[in-house]
Subunit: 299 residues, 2 copies
């Protein structure tokens, strides 16, 4: 088994009521990898510029992450600058500099082309499709997307949806994609566009898994102190795919458990800035919180 992620690597500047941190390690592929590698070795594909700090490379290398697909090219690393206010449900983007990510080609190392579990992190759907073409026989492909692609590259996105097993997106994106206003109708509508599995994230309100015939409703873990929600969705996907890769079988029950692991990894992610919290989290921590959470949701 093998788990591949293709997505952004960024230097994030984030401002929340808890403070401001500049140029910290971030990006969808990073948040995913740090979470997923708790469960299973991760193959990372992404691009950084010459300015990417050596200490961040070291941080990544210390994890169970294969960096063969981490390209360093001329130019500056992708930068995102965002601010969260009040209850921190949504980020206000102050500034985005795609830099080297603008020409990201997602070259997949030869060794990675046999990957069985693939997470196509938030990225233009044409890049996501081009990655898929290079993977020989993936067993389970999960894609993420966002408002920008739903609005600007709808045709390519609809093409992508025919090729993936699962789509993970938030409620607002699901409404935008389907033009529905009921979450159940929206989820079922997305399934008709291709993905057998749809996971709709509702932030602090939990998530919904739409499977073959069943729906699974899961609350979020009730975090007491959210310091920085950046990367919550990617660490959710990381815990989910990491568990799925380790479980070896894809069925509704395993996906339900995976949803819980996703919820738990995301809950650690948001407790500190960037990857600070998930970086010091162990599988032991995950298991303790899993048990605690189970008690809160079990009838």
């Amino acid at each position: 088994m093998s788990l591949l992620v293709v997505g952004s690597i960024a230097l994030d500047t984030v401002h929340t009521p808890y403070g401001k941190v500049q140029d910290m390690l971030g990006g969808s592929a990073i948040h995913f990898s740090f979470a997923a590698s708790l469960f299973y070795p991760v193959r990372l594909v992404g691009v950084v510029g010459r300015d990417f700090p050596y200490t961040f490379k070291e941080m990544i290398c210390k994890k169970n992450i294969d960096t063969k697909g981490l390209q360093e090219v001329e130019g500056e690393t992708f930068r995102w600058n965002g601010k969260y206010k009040g209850r921190m449900n949504e980020a206000e983007t102050i500034c985005v500099n795609l830099n080297v990510f603008a020409n990201f080609k997602a070259d997949i190392p030869e060794d990675f082309k046999d990957s069985e579990y693939v997470f196509l992190a938030n990225c233009g759907p044409s890049i996501q499709l081009s990655v898929l073409k290079k993977i020989r026989r993936p067993r389970f492909v999960l894609a993420d997307t966002m408002n920008l692609w739903i609005k600007e590259t709808r045709t390519e996105l609809l093409r992508l949806l025919k090729e993936v097993d699962g789509l993970v997106l938030n409620d607002g994106e699901a409404y935008l994609l389907t033009q529905e206003s009921n979450i159940i109708t929206a989820g079922k509508c997305i399934q008709k566009l291709g993905p057998k599995f749809v996971i709709i994230k509702k932030g602090e309100h939990g998530s919904i898994l739409f499977g073959h015939e069943n729906i699974y409703l899961l609350p979020a873990y009730p975090t007491r102190e959210v310091k920085d929600p950046t990367g919550a969705g990617d660490s959710f996907a990381g815990g989910l795919m990491g568990y799925i890769a380790s479980a070896k079988e894809i069925n509704h029950n395993n996906l339900k458990t995976a949803l819980i692991y996703g919820t738990i990894t995301a809950s650690y992610n948001i407790e500190d800035f960037g990857v600070n919290s998930i970086n010091r989290t162990t599988m032991e921590d995950i298991k303790v919180r899993f048990k605690e959470f189970e008690e809160m949701i079990r009838l």
Copy 2:
């Protein structure tokens, strides 16, 4: 065992994307009674004016509801006129005429003073307190409240909280009452004000039960078509208290089950205007949906 509710009886005019209905049977005590009476006989205390339609009296009498406490006085019945737009998460009040409800004294019939289970529906806290004084030895008292009382009659509300076993309120009200912005912190903070049990409702996002030492997180039943959310909270409380009264024992497990029954009765309530849907719902329907819902939330 005996279950008492004291609250408003209204003629509601409601406008939703599904249409407009004028002067239909409504009010907190009505929505509560119709839901709770599916589980257990209800003692209703409320006031109406001379204009209260005979057909509505008939509708109430056909239920398992004791109307000895239903006073009819000179004047007009309480009227509420509201509108829901878009995803219908919040009502916009167009107009309120308290009418006879303005002088509501909540006279409790002698026969009702031995009530063991009491729901103090949304009402000024001084009236809620005066009701409590008249009940001899209640076993379990649950109160509801709203922004108006939290802002305008805080002192009385805080006095009430010391006298009740449970408080049910929505998330916005919990934040307003506690000045907290985290739902878990808010719930625990309310427990410190008096109630052993706190139930925070999050509408379509479910509810949270704060018990002695445990928290229970419950998603909402995923209704496909919400026609009129009016009374959702009261029918939720109705299913909850109705089940509790029928279960005869108050413990964390029974309260968890009660939360699910509340969720299910509320899900029926919102499927049609006013009490139309809950009026035709049977205990058989409730049980079918309970099972279906259990499948959606069970790990």
